[in-house]
């Protein structure tokens, strides 16, 4: 027979006790709780009925929407456009394949002890751009060419954010090293570059890239709009990246620098073999956070006329055959972004906690 006296109590406090402690502890907490609870109950009801109960999910044309609730038929009918833009239907498998590769490379990063997690991550950073470079525009291996003006929707959003972050990483590292350099002129140049790009809004950068970049280049050399936008985004993002990485460099204890120097390592070997591997590991959460903000900021490209996911929605909600679907469209985009950003930010937070215990200088 078990000795009940050594067992822990079943529950520390009962629900009533819990409520008394956490909801109704003082008179103003009672008032606050009641008011907030009332507001939640009155607003959640109509929201649920708009989202689910009165909403229309099935169907193929505007007549299938009753108008009482959300018209999700609109989203499902235009989903292809929201995901691929004008990418030709029979070639969309190439984009799907890229989505799959992206998921294969990055989803395991959320799962600890996934076999070969690091190799997949490496593939995500190095192999994926190569795969995308072959698959998306087409050309080699008998893949038909798809010009970049036909790219759009979620696919374009991901391309912009992904290339922006990957390409800005090496520039950011160089800038961060430069800003911490002992050479005053190099340091000064890096500081000016970083601070200027950080001070101006992305919109002006994109605008400059789309309108002014052609003026800066020698005659005959020009890029299409998407490439120009990518140049602008990369330069802008590299300034933010540099600041994140600088934080990591600063967190590495002096002893590491000194020990590397004592071993007779030159500057690049000291940085490449000792300091950067540690610093980059430290700043992964920071890089993930800048990725999230870049991901959200890519919506700005619609202002220079590129059709990202928000752009595709914005251009279809005015379709006269569907009436008043603006809210549905915006909710859909908001949901897409929210799922991505919230998921990734949770990952970055857990990473932060893990690294926090591992490294305290």
């Amino acid at each position: 027979m078990t000795d009940l006296s050594v067992m822990p109590p079943k529950k520390a406090i009962g629900p009533i006790q819990w409520m008394k402690r956490n909801l109704f502890s003082t008179w103003y907490n009672v008032v606050l709780t009641l008011v907030v609870a009332y507001l939640i109950v009155t607003s959640v009801g109509p929201l649920i009925s708009w989202f689910f109960v009165d909403a229309n999910f099935m169907g193929s044309d505007p007549k299938d929407c009753s108008g009482a609730g959300a018209c999700w038929v609109f989203i499902s009918q235009r989903l292809d456009f929201f995901i691929y833009g004008f990418y030709p239907g029979e070639q969309q498998w190439r984009v799907d394949l890229m989505f799959l590769l992206l998921a294969v490379a990055f989803v395991p990063q959320f799962i600890e002890r996934f076999p070969g997690r690091k190799w997949l991550g490496l593939f995500g950073v190095v192999g994926l751009p190569v795969a995308g470079y072959i698959l998306i525009p087409g050309g080699p291996f008998g893949l038909s060419e798809v010009e970049s003006t036909k790219w759009g929707g979620l696919m374009l959003t991901l391309i912009l954010a992904y290339i922006g972050i990957i390409a800005s990483l090496p520039i950011g590292i160089l800038l961060a090293l430069g800003r911490r350099s002992e050479m005053p002129i190099i340091r000064g140049l890096c500081v000016v570059f970083i601070e200027v790009w950080r001070a101006v809004p992305l919109i002006t950068v994109l605008f400059m890239a789309s309108v002014m970049l052609p003026l800066f280049l020698p005659e005959g050399l020009n890029f299409e709009k998407l490439a120009r936008a990518l140049i602008g985004i990369t330069l802008w993002q590299s300034a933010y990246m540099a600041e994140v990485i600088r934080g990591g460099l600063q967190a590495i204890p002096r002893g590491q620098y000194e020990a590397a120097s004592a071993l007779g390592l030159g500057y690049w070997r000291k940085m490449g073999l000792v300091v950067l591997p540690q610093a980059l590991k430290l700043v992964i959460p920071g890089i993930v956070n800048t990725f999230i903000s870049l991901f959200k900021d890519t919506t700005l490209v619609l202002i220079i006329g590129l059709l990202d996911i928000l752009g595709t929605v914005q251009s279809t909600v005015t379709d006269p055959s569907w009436q008043n679907v603006a809210v549905e469209g915006y909710v859909f985009v908001a949901f897409c972004f929210w799922v991505f950003c919230f998921g990734i930010s949770r990952y970055s937070q857990s990473l932060e906690r893990k690294l926090d215990t591992g490294h305290k200088s």
């Binding site: 907490n29 001070a199 101006v200 002006t204 002014m212 280049l217 700005l300 928000l310 603006a326 985009v333």
Partner: protein
């Protein structure tokens, strides 16, 4: 440094292994590279503009603009110059930025504190707010507040009104405008007098507290003075304030103050979005103050309210201020999204219409970027000064 150089030479190190020489070479190279790059860029631009027949220079700033702008804080009409459109845009940018900074700070502090509330429901509500708002792109939120909310507001003829002085419709929010009349000077004098009185009482109370240790109910007294004195002055002057109440004339309301929906949508979106980031900053700032500080303050016999005001908040501000600065900067930069919904800020008016009518992209974009650079340097400077003031003073 000098010693090292001597060492290098005395040990017969080749000059290209001497770190000083190397550093000099690298830096010279870097400078040369930057100058060469800059020169190529300028050269290209100039030759491109010349070969394409694009006019250059800032002469266009004096030409007549010839287009209308819906909202201007500085006097403007279509007969004025392109240079004036720059100031109109800048003023509008500053207006929405200031409004946004104030609202986002207030809201952010409230939500940040609510996040730490002992009330479970309030804390969770704050958490949901933060996680939802900050993970949705700002541009989308602006579109939502503008297009989705605007289309559900009534038209001018069916305006919702509050006491037939304040009207809301899809053209904006119409408020009565105070019009000072004779004797208004007396009221102003009352306000000034009250402010001076409060400052004097505060000084006196502080001196007394230092001398005797007795606390003076400063807040209550200050409020009483600030309300009573101007009120008495107002009554004596015989109600010296008229109101210009908006009224429906033709298609729209005329008179009063109009808050255009573009401004309202941008302001709401900017404030809500930035507040979600500020709330997290405030939360981590408050959490950064160690529990020992609170306990020590309690042990000294300070009541909870004073502990918060004198111990916790001053210390957490040190942690809060630096990231808060960058949020303010972000808000100013994000205000440029105005162009997406037609609020006439600097980017929409100057880098939009003016650039397009004159075609002088280089000059216009350079001016616009210079403005943002200046604003951001100014904010950093102010915040650095403040930061220095609240920094830990070690003895």
């Amino acid at each position: 440094m000098k010693k090292q150089a001597i060492n290098a030479r005395t040990y017969g190190v080749k000059p290209w292994y001497d770190p000083r020489v190397r550093s000099l070479v690298y830096q010279t190279l870097a400078i040369a590279l930057v100058f060469w790059g800059g020169w190529v860029l300028v050269e290209n631009t100039l030759s491109n503009m010349a070969s394409r027949g694009i006019s250059t220079g800032f002469g266009f700033l004096d030409e007549t603009a010839g287009f209308g702008i819906i909202m201007h804080l500085v006097p403007y009409d279509a007969t004025m110059s392109y240079g004036r459109t720059f100031w109109v845009g800048l003023a509008n940018t500053l207006l929405v930025s200031c409004m946004g900074v104030i609202a986002a700070t207030v809201l952010g502090f409230i939500i940040g504190v609510a996040r730490l509330s002992s009330n479970w429901l309030i804390a969770k509500l704050a958490l949901v707010y933060i996680e939802v708002i900050r993970n949705i792109p700002l541009l989308l939120q602006i579109f939502f507040w503008y297009f989705a909310v605007l289309s559900n507001l009534p038209s001018p003829r069916q305006s919702a009104d509050l006491g037939s002085a304040l009207f809301i419709n899809n053209r904006g929010l119409y408020l009565p405008q105070p019009v000072p009349q004779e004797g208004f000077g007396l009221f102003i004098a009352g306000v000034v007098l009250a402010v001076f009185a409060v400052v004097w009482v505060a000084k006196w109370a502080r001196k007394r507290q230092l001398a005797t240790g007795e606390r003076f109910p400063m807040v209550k007294v200050a409020l009483a003075i600030l309300v009573t004195v101007p009120f008495v002055a107002y009554v004596i002057a015989g109600d010296p304030l008229g109101w210009d109440v908006p009224a429906l004339k033709g298609f729209n309301f005329k008179g009063g103050i109009t808050v255009i929906p573009e401004l309202a949508a941008l302001w709401i979106a900017l404030s809500l979005y930035t507040a979600s980031f500020i709330a997290e900053i405030v939360r981590s700032g408050i959490l950064s103050v160690s529990k020992g500080q609170t306990e020590a303050a309690n042990a000294l016999g300070l009541p909870n309210r004073l502990t918060l005001r004198l111990v916790v908040i001053p210390q957490s501000l040190r942690v809060i201020i630096p990231p808060l600065t960058s949020q303010y900067l972000n808000l100013v930069k994000n205000s440029s999204l105005a162009t997406a919904i037609g609020y006439p800020d600097l980017v929409a008016v100057f880098m939009g219409t003016t650039l397009n009518q004159t075609g002088q992209a280089v000059e216009v974009v350079a001016m616009t970027m210079a403005v943002y650079l200046t604003i951001s340097l100014l904010i950093s400077l102010l915040m650095n000064l403040y930061n220095r003031a609240v920094a830990i003073k070690e003895r």
